[in-house]
Symmetry: C2
Subunit: 218 residues, 2 copies
DNA sequence: CCTTTTAGATACCGATTGGTACGTAAATGC
DNA sequence: GCATTTACGTACCAATCGGTATCTAAAAGG
């Protein structure tokens, strides 16, 4: 029952990991097949035999990214005793992860294919769904906080998840722009300052500047 | 003293505007010369004669973007009576601008060249400096708020500018992901909830979860 | 041994990329 | 009218893109 033909001479998992890092660094379009095969230590036909296509390789790379980089985040979300601690733990974790020196800065899912040619629209949508999934996951954790009693029932979990997801995505850009861990942490500090106010109730009704924003007389 | 040779048959400003929109939509790499010339209504040699190169065209497009899309923001920052109103006005403005249907969603400066090949590193740096400039501008406005007396002297303008810039950049991603104006506004709501806490003093010292983030026993 | 099966390596494919050479058209200066 | 200057349009360039055909090497099954 062993494999029949000539055995593969490279470690598929390791090759995928290296491809993931290159996609992470350069983005989908920015990583050419030449660079990919060189980084993976294999030649082109071997890549196609093992992964099917550049796009399929990318999707596998994203799956690997989710499994490896996403795992500790998922763990922090689940195991934090309160929703507030869960959200802060995620942001703190990323403030550290995004400045690691052994991998590219920022989040692959956020950065690798934000815009580009219409040809790769489905790929961008794939990443968009991934981002949406992360936001929904955070939303559910905050909602759980209401059930658990550590978050007031006046809170709007969806709005809070959107806000902290937006900050989190902004952190990827800041990290790419060279922000230090301390700087990213200060952004997280600021975001967490809003927590109590956010759980207190819907802030939309308190806003002073929303109405008439499109009125040129103001 | 009039121009000597054959007059240009196209409107250079209009052609540049169309190029800007295409770069805005697809990013630098995603906008090919073929698409650019088609959108601009000119042929390739005319583009090179009028703009020099694709990269020079892009830089001019960014300058035009700053001049047109950035002008109302600058005006809001300068003319708002308080720093708080200035920051909120910028975010509200963008929450509306980023969902316009006549132009691509999100901010060109944030989205057009975040990552890619090492070949265009200087171009990404160019946009990075542009982003940095916007943050510095916001920082100065908040510092002015301290001088004016509408912001407590305990506030940290640099940290606040970083936070609101991070949120602002996150808004571009949310807008690309399909967020409605209402959704973007709710993110702005949340960000503004933090204001009073941020001006009250440095939140870093109050954080509970920052220390020992790398300690697996916590 | 020989056949079968799978992988590695070279060399190639058509398409597209950013960028130009070159001949022609349209204006001004004299 | 004629030379000069600038722009337009076609047709092209080398380089690179993602993807493969083909041949050889290395394993298992018989």
């Amino acid at each position: 029952m062993a494999e029949r033909g000539r055995p593969r001479a490279f470690d598929r998992d390791e090759a995928l990991r290296r491809a993931m890092v290159l996609f992470w660094q350069r983005g989908y379009d920015g990583a050419s097949l030449g660079e990919l095969t060189e980084a993976m230590g294999i030649n082109r036909p071997s890549l196609y035999a093992a992964f099917g296509s550049k796009e399929a390789l990318f999707r596998e790379a994203v799956a690997l990214y989710d499994a490896t980089e996403g795992a500790p985040i998922q763990e922090k979300i689940e195991q934090s005793p309160t929703a507030r601690q869960a959200v802060e733990a995620v942001l703190r974790h990323n403030a550290r992860a995004y400045v690691r020196t052994d991998v590219p800065r920022g989040c692959l899912v956020v950065l690798a294919a934000l815009i580009g040619t219409p040809e790769h629209e489905d790929l961008r949508c794939f990443l968009k769904e991934n981002r949406k999934g992360a936001e929904d996951y955070l939303c559910q954790r905050i909602a759980r906080g209401i059930s658990d009693g550590d978050v007031p029932a006046t809170a709007d979990p969806a709005a809070m998840a959107r806000f902290y997801t937006t900050v989190n995505q902004g952190l990827s850009i800041q990290a790419r722009d060279g922000a230090s861990m301390e700087v990213l942490d200060s952004v997280v500090d600021a975001a967490m300052v809003a927590w109590d106010g956010l759980t207190a109730g819907t802030p939309s009704t308190k806003s002073t500047a929303r109405a008439g924003q499109n009125n040129p007389s103001i």
